[in-house]
């Protein structure tokens, strides 16, 4: 599923000359709170190559979410440049930004952010609704995406009829359904027990194995160790950027492996 999209993305990434899919240069973000200024990000340089699985760690308030929101084109930056897929996003505004969020980015949030009144399948369909995909194709694609996260039979359930882990899997299906260039996850396991967290990591790893680019924020070193690279923030700066020699594989979840295939 992600393979051919990735090949395309790699080609485009070369436009910038770096081949990176995420390229942040001297990225700063300053919040104004009353007369105070909060420097959430201070001249961050970060480059993520296609197919990388990056974990972002750091103390609370160190700027991890701020970075994710900017990478995800949800928030604007104060200074610096951010290239997504070779395109300078800092200069883009309005509806084009919405289109980028829609096609290139899949977001997974700590609090799931599903619409409570819609069924799981309808939630998964939403990005396709905004992409203008016709209803019948949407339903089929939503079924496929739910199948990928092992929830084929839960499509008609409302979010409040699902467990936390299931909710997060619906959110992942939703994030994947438009075949985005990158998957961004801000503490995806933060609200889950460790077993459900392992399941989510299992899904992420299988996506990564297929070539997906993933950036994930986490507080837990165990979770971070599933990634191939760990970037650590402190006070809005990157203080370490290390490769994980041997990422840990997600423990077996008791479900048949082909459920993720």
């Amino acid at each position: 599923m992600a393979g051919e999209a990735l090949a395309r993305d790699r080609e485009r990434g070369e436009g910038l000359g770096t081949g990176a899919i995420i390229e942040a240069r001297r990225l700063s973000k300053t919040y104004k709170v009353g007369r105070h200024e909060v420097k959430a990000l201070r001249e961050v340089d970060l480059s993520v190559a296609p197919g990388e699985f990056v974990a972002v760690m750091g103390a609370s308030g160190s700027g991890k979410s701020t970075l994710m929101n900017i990478i995800g084109c949800l928030d604007s930056l104060t200074s610096g440049n951010y290239f997504l897929d070779g395109e300078d996003v800092s200069s883009i505004a309005g509806n084009r930004l919405a289109a980028i969020r829609n096609r290139k980015i899949g977001f997974v949030f700590q609090s799931f952010n599903l619409l409570p009144k819609l069924s799981a399948a309808r939630n998964v369909e939403l990005p396709m609704v905004y992409a203008g995909v016709p209803a019948r194709r949407r339903a089929a694609a939503a079924r496929t995406a739910l199948g990928r996260v092992g929830l084929t039979d839960r499509g008609h359930h409302k979010p409040n009829e699902l467990s936390g882990g299931q909710k997060q899997r619906v959110a992942i299906a939703r994030a994947l359904v438009n075949r985005p260039s990158i998957l961004l996850a801000d503490e995806p396991t933060g609200n889950l027990d460790s077993r459900s967290g392992e399941e989510i990591m299992g899904i992420f790893q299988s996506l990564h194995d297929e070539g997906a680019t993933i950036v994930m924020v986490t507080h837990e070193r165990d979770i971070a160790l599933h990634a191939g690279r760990i970037v650590t923030f402190r006070d809005g700066r990157i203080v370490s950027d290390e490769k994980v020699a041997a990422p840990s594989r997600a423990a077996a979840t008791g479900r048949a492996p082909d459920e993720f295939a």
């Binding site: 929101n69 995800g72 949800l74 928030d75 309005g94 509806n95 919405a98 289109a99 969020r101 829609n102 096609r103 977001f107 949030f109 952010n113 599903l114 619409l115 009144k117 939403l126 990005p127 609704v129 905004y130 992409a131 203008g132 939703r174 438009n178």
Partner: protein, 398 residues
């Protein structure tokens, strides 16, 4: 995001808050139903009045001797005068008229009904716009032979003869000057207006027969239908001159334009409609503010949802459209419910005062259009507010 999608999503969110939706619509429902109720009655009344008048040929003039003038017997109108007026080039049909109240015996011989016996000729059917149901109207020979024939309305025929075919049966009439028997030759359809304005029941007999029985040679009036409506005022003057010449007098005749009556009814009804529309406009405005208020509340409540939708790629336009559709559905539903409620109210009121209420397709279309417009006008601001929300701040909102 297409229209259907927005429609479904709006309907889902509105039905999730039924009580609130209905209360919000109430202002619009009341406004629209008031208008529909009053205008349906007004239009029904107008249709009845106009139908009646329009049946009276192209236009009608009523010629009579002026009251209060010093009138001598030589000034009075006669059947010969009617024949004279018929020679006027703009006269379509002319009927002499002499009327008199009397009674008629009903099926139960001890009961009688008050009748207004109208002596006239065959043209009166067109002059007065009567719809024949059975048999025929008066004919030329009836007048020539002073025949004792009568045309009555079908309601009277039922009271008089029950279910029997009234044609050829005998009507026993009594006048101040004595009793007479008439043979029924036709029945006509009673008019809506007759029952509405509590008019007496009319029965038509040859004017010559009534004149002979009553021993009078004159008429009450002469009805003239004109061919060219635009020349009606001039024709009125000319008819009056023709009569003055024949009777060798001056200005003793009154020629009344019956269409003026229709105009004044229409003017009154028009005034009522305008007033009701004004009241409706005010209540629609208040209803619109209600819609705006609730939409603002909705936008605040659903800020988080808006953030989620934006994070998934919804444009400002998508969000604006979604909330606008919701406001329009709210208002248009109010309008539709108002139409139904107003029509039911109109039926109830119409039943009480004996008018068939009428709601035209134009009225319904216009009402739906207006209430949708209310939705748009008062929905734009909340929808734009929703659209302009910053995605990340909206997402943080719980």
């Amino acid at each position: 995001m297409n229209l259907l999608e927005s429609f479904i999503s709006a309907a889902t969110s509105l039905s999730g808050n039924k009580m609130r939706s209905v209360l919000t619509m109430l202002g619009i429902i009341i406004g629209i139903s008031a208008v529909i109720m009053i205008t349906s009655i007004g239009q029904g009344l107008q249709a009845a009045v106009n139908g009646q008048f329009s049946k009276m040929g192209a236009a009608g003039l009523e010629v009579s001797v002026k009251l209060g003038e010093h009138v001598t017997s030589k000034d009075l109108l006669t059947v010969a005068d009617a024949a004279l007026l018929e020679t006027h080039p703009n006269a379509e049909s002319v009927s002499p008229m002499l009327a008199m109240t009397g009674r008629a015996r009903l099926q139960n011989p001890s009961e009688t009904d008050s009748l207004y016996y109208v002596g006239c000729n065959g043209s009166f059917k067109d002059v007065y716009g009567l719809d024949m149901l059975e048999g025929r109207f008066l004919a030329r020979q009836d007048l020539e032979n002073n025949a004792s024939v009568i045309v009555i309305d079908s309601n009277l025929a039922k009271r008089m003869f029950g279910q029997a075919d009234p044609i050829g049966l005998t009507l026993h009439a009594s006048f101040s000057f004595g009793n007479m028997d008439f043979t029924v030759v036709g029945t006509y359809k009673p008019t809506d207006l007759g029952s509405l304005f509590q008019m007496p029941t009319f029965a038509y007999i040859p004017v010559t027969t009534l004149q002979k029985a009553y021993g009078r040679s004159y008429l009450d009036s002469i009805y003239v239908n004109v061919k060219d409506r635009s020349a009606i005022e001039r024709t009125a003057v000319e008819l009056s001159k023709l009569l003055s010449m024949r009777h060798n007098n001056d200005g003793k005749y009154n020629v009344a334009n019956m269409l003026k009556g229709m105009d004044s009814v229409n003017t009154v009804l028009g005034g009522v409609t305008t007033f009701v529309s004004l009241v409706a406009a005010i209540s629609l405005f208040v209803g619109g503010i209600g819609v705006m208020n609730i939409m603002l509340v909705t936008v605040t409540e659903r800020t988080h949802e808006i953030g989620i939708r934006k994070s998934l790629g919804a444009t400002d336009g998508n969000i604006r459209f979604q909330f606008l559709v919701e406001a329009v559905i709210l208002a248009a539903m109010g309008g539709l419910i108002g139409i139904v409620a107003g029509y039911c109210g109109g039926m109830a009121l119409g039943g009480a005062i004996n008018v068939q209420p009428s709601v035209s397709v134009t009225t319904v279309a216009f009402t739906v259009f207006i209430s949708s417009m209310v939705g748009i006008v008062f929905g734009v601001y909340p929808a734009s507010k929703a659209a302009k929300l910053d995605p990340i701040e909206a997402l943080r909102h719980e």
